[in-house]
Symmetry: D2
Subunit: 284 residues, 4 copies
Amino acid sequence: MEKIKCFGIIGGDKRQLYCACGLAADGFDVILCGFDRSEDPPELPSRDPESTISESDALILPVPVSRDGKTVFSPLSYENIDLRYCLELCGKDKPVFFGVYGKAEPSVFEGHRAYCYGSRNDFAAANAVPTAEGAIMTAVSESTRCITLSPCLVTGYGRIGRVLAFMLRGMGADVTVSARKSEDLELIRAAGMKAVHTANITGRYDFIFNTVPAMVLDRDTLSRCAAGLVIDLASPPGGVDDKAAEELSVRVIHALSLPGKTAPESAGDIIKKTVYNIIREEDI
Amino acid sequence: MEKIKCFGIIGGDKRQLYCACGLAADGFDVILCGFDRSEDPPELPSRDPESTISESDALILPVPVSRDGKTVFSPLSYENIDLRYCLELCGKDKPVFFGVYGKAEPSVFEGHRAYCYGSRNDFAAANAVPTAEGAIMTAVSESTRCITLSPCLVTGYGRIGRVLAFMLRGMGADVTVSARKSEDLELIRAAGMKAVHTANITGRYDFIFNTVPAMVLDRDTLSRCAAGLVIDLASPPGGVDDKAAEELSVRVIHALSLPGKTAPESAGDIIKKTVYNIIREEDI
Amino acid sequence: MEKIKCFGIIGGDKRQLYCACGLAADGFDVILCGFDRSEDPPELPSRDPESTISESDALILPVPVSRDGKTVFSPLSYENIDLRYCLELCGKDKPVFFGVYGKAEPSVFEGHRAYCYGSRNDFAAANAVPTAEGAIMTAVSESTRCITLSPCLVTGYGRIGRVLAFMLRGMGADVTVSARKSEDLELIRAAGMKAVHTANITGRYDFIFNTVPAMVLDRDTLSRCAAGLVIDLASPPGGVDDKAAEELSVRVIHALSLPGKTAPESAGDIIKKTVYNIIREEDI
Amino acid sequence: MEKIKCFGIIGGDKRQLYCACGLAADGFDVILCGFDRSEDPPELPSRDPESTISESDALILPVPVSRDGKTVFSPLSYENIDLRYCLELCGKDKPVFFGVYGKAEPSVFEGHRAYCYGSRNDFAAANAVPTAEGAIMTAVSESTRCITLSPCLVTGYGRIGRVLAFMLRGMGADVTVSARKSEDLELIRAAGMKAVHTANITGRYDFIFNTVPAMVLDRDTLSRCAAGLVIDLASPPGGVDDKAAEELSVRVIHALSLPGKTAPESAGDIIKKTVYNIIREEDI
């Protein structure tokens, strides 16, 4: 990590600003680009793309890299920053760390020393925490009931499902988790929770948290459940049959991008740590 | 409990409406009075005070009973309902259940068969849950950081402190609890948390939750801590030196009446259950 | 605490030896008396009662002080150490810390500067941990079943009940706690466990842990339960109708003095810490 | 599952007897073979291998199938039961469920309808519970200290590591888990525990639980730790350098086959459930 002394941070939301602050606190030089609209910018130098890239040893691009396929995703800037141009300025050797592609063409990174931090398992694992906390906050604020003692269903026992179920149980909820694999069903029970096969979901749940990116809560399943509030954490199109839910008078909230919304500081810290992990593993 | 067939519910906020629905769901007749402004009133009969009281076998008054010392606290009504008049209508024998006095004179209940549900230990214990959940929701929504893994301080190990510390620990926070009694300090440790004597609070805490109705977080203590966000759950004047906090750039949120705000349905259920407990204990 | 430089430890079991080692590790001089049968004695000076007392600034007597009313309880010694003689040697001014009386007459301490550490709340709170761990160990080793996922009943929500229920829940058991006070019943629920009034205990429990020093598990209650293994943590006569249990084929284990048996080192540490607390509070 | 009406259980320890009882309780006919030495045999018919197999629709062999490569592992029998002969009696069509091979040649099952329940993930996941409970029981009974509040290290975050770390944390221990993958390190932190890379294990731990079947606690690592008690859960040769441990005065306990030892009833239940899972998945 001794080779990189200065990071350029181009584009992104508050998470990137917190990431920048974290890097600076760790002793790195940091140059910002694309945060001219930020209300409360950190005291770090801001430059145009050319200077940012020429003066820094590595570049960090946001999550996602682009929402239009052309410019860097920069909600905190009045400027349009061309993604391809930035990469050209980086050349073949300057490391570029980027979040998920979004609408950016993967091919745009070809020939560059580009590392995707947004698709890594450690990134996803760490972001399960702000996601789960955001889901719980949403449940408490949108419902008239307490979570503690309430029957809660978490669909899926992947990273988010596991962390969320663990927290709900830790708060005293009566937690059931659905999964398909018999191994997962045993692991759910081993953690002191109730397990149900996804195909057999039934019963009354004051809260249902969907973590599965597939149509798990279809009309059939919703009809078999007496569901209070459904919080869908899966990316669009989500895992809930919204039309059936409406007909069954089940309220559904699609809670997306929770880490950036509820905990941008922690989310920025996770970007920083993941970049460090890449640097260590790849010996950059 | 067989003697009471019909409850009259006069005044109060959403909690009383949920309490009313709960009583109806349990098979009681319920008459409402003082909810004419309610946006989404339950399908239960509404009457004036005279009919409400004459047709019911027992009366439930709100938390608090009165905010002006004269009328029943009725935020969901355009009418003024005179407290003393209601009690006169009840006479000597009709049981009246009421929450805390607020500005009402305790003497106004003299000569009546009045039972305070709001000052009971079981009521306070049950309300610790929505209070703790509301405190956690506030912490997540008002902070840019996650609770999990963060150093959190809970001051006080009474009912709310205990439930809140337990939940935070269950969510994976790094929990320290302050108390004064050596027994409490041992019980805190026995629950797998760090204990500190109130006089010796020090260190960095991303979140401080005050549950003690006394000036615990005074200038001295705040100076010794690197506090992120302080959430004060104690009734006014609270337990934080707000002026010192401001000077030290520590953000303080006074989070009051959380059960009614974040979980009126659960809070209404608690009122109902406490009334049942009184009826059982007093053989009403 | 600066006035005491040397502690004399007279009598007791392994706990007192660990307490002595802890005091020595904290920088105190320590003199032992009554450990001549100890198999693996610590490297600390041993003296007769006269020298031990004359050379030390304070005396620590064991838990209990005496089992015969005359001599100091000294299971690790071949000698008989007269309790009254020891106290005479201490005179009026030398502080004497002692555990519970056992068969010793309280009057024997009159006129002496004696402090009972064994009856203090902080001592009891801290000992709840080794007691609960010992109870769990007993349950695992004496049963053919796992605790996790099993229905477990803890009777009583005092110090031991609370710590034990908390641990069982933390291990993933399906925990019900019985209590009498409606406040306790609410606090049990607030901690995410099932609550049942002591008078209404019923159902199937693979494990029942009694923490109440009263006949809670009488014939009636046992008949209403399908109990697997009962572990009685209450001092004799205990809280289980042993005859009824035998007739109902319910196995009962009376697990007593668990801290000294399963964790003498931690138990000795608790004695040391409690003595420190007394010294601080009494400004000795 | 309707096709199987009668199970033959040949060989094995108490787990197989509890499995047999569970099958009988679920309504199956069960025939036992190889339990003539059992002290407290269940009230189920016992036959010789020939009758057992001819009268049953499916056969359950033990964990492991054989310890000598020739006979069925039958510690509760005076007889030698030839494995190859049993399989011949089963023929090509009768389902045979067996645990791990042990010394049995895999080829011996060729041409038979054999299903290994012992190598399945759901079997391993479910057995993590009795393994973890047995490890905790061993820790409590072999140590003079409490687990609660003690620094504990769990090496590895696979099934057993996860369940064990979860339980220790639930009991109030100060838990650190070591792993190699950065994803696992994040998941450990997300569960509110400390994470350390396996290569960097250091510090004082009152208890170290090894779950990794590789030399994790080598001389280097042990020298960097101040370890109290090491409990090695990995199969021989285990994960601890025993010689180095002895030289460093670190006590090591190799705790093997814990499910069968500490919870044969639960372990037998797990065998039953896993057989059911196979039957369902394979549509037997």
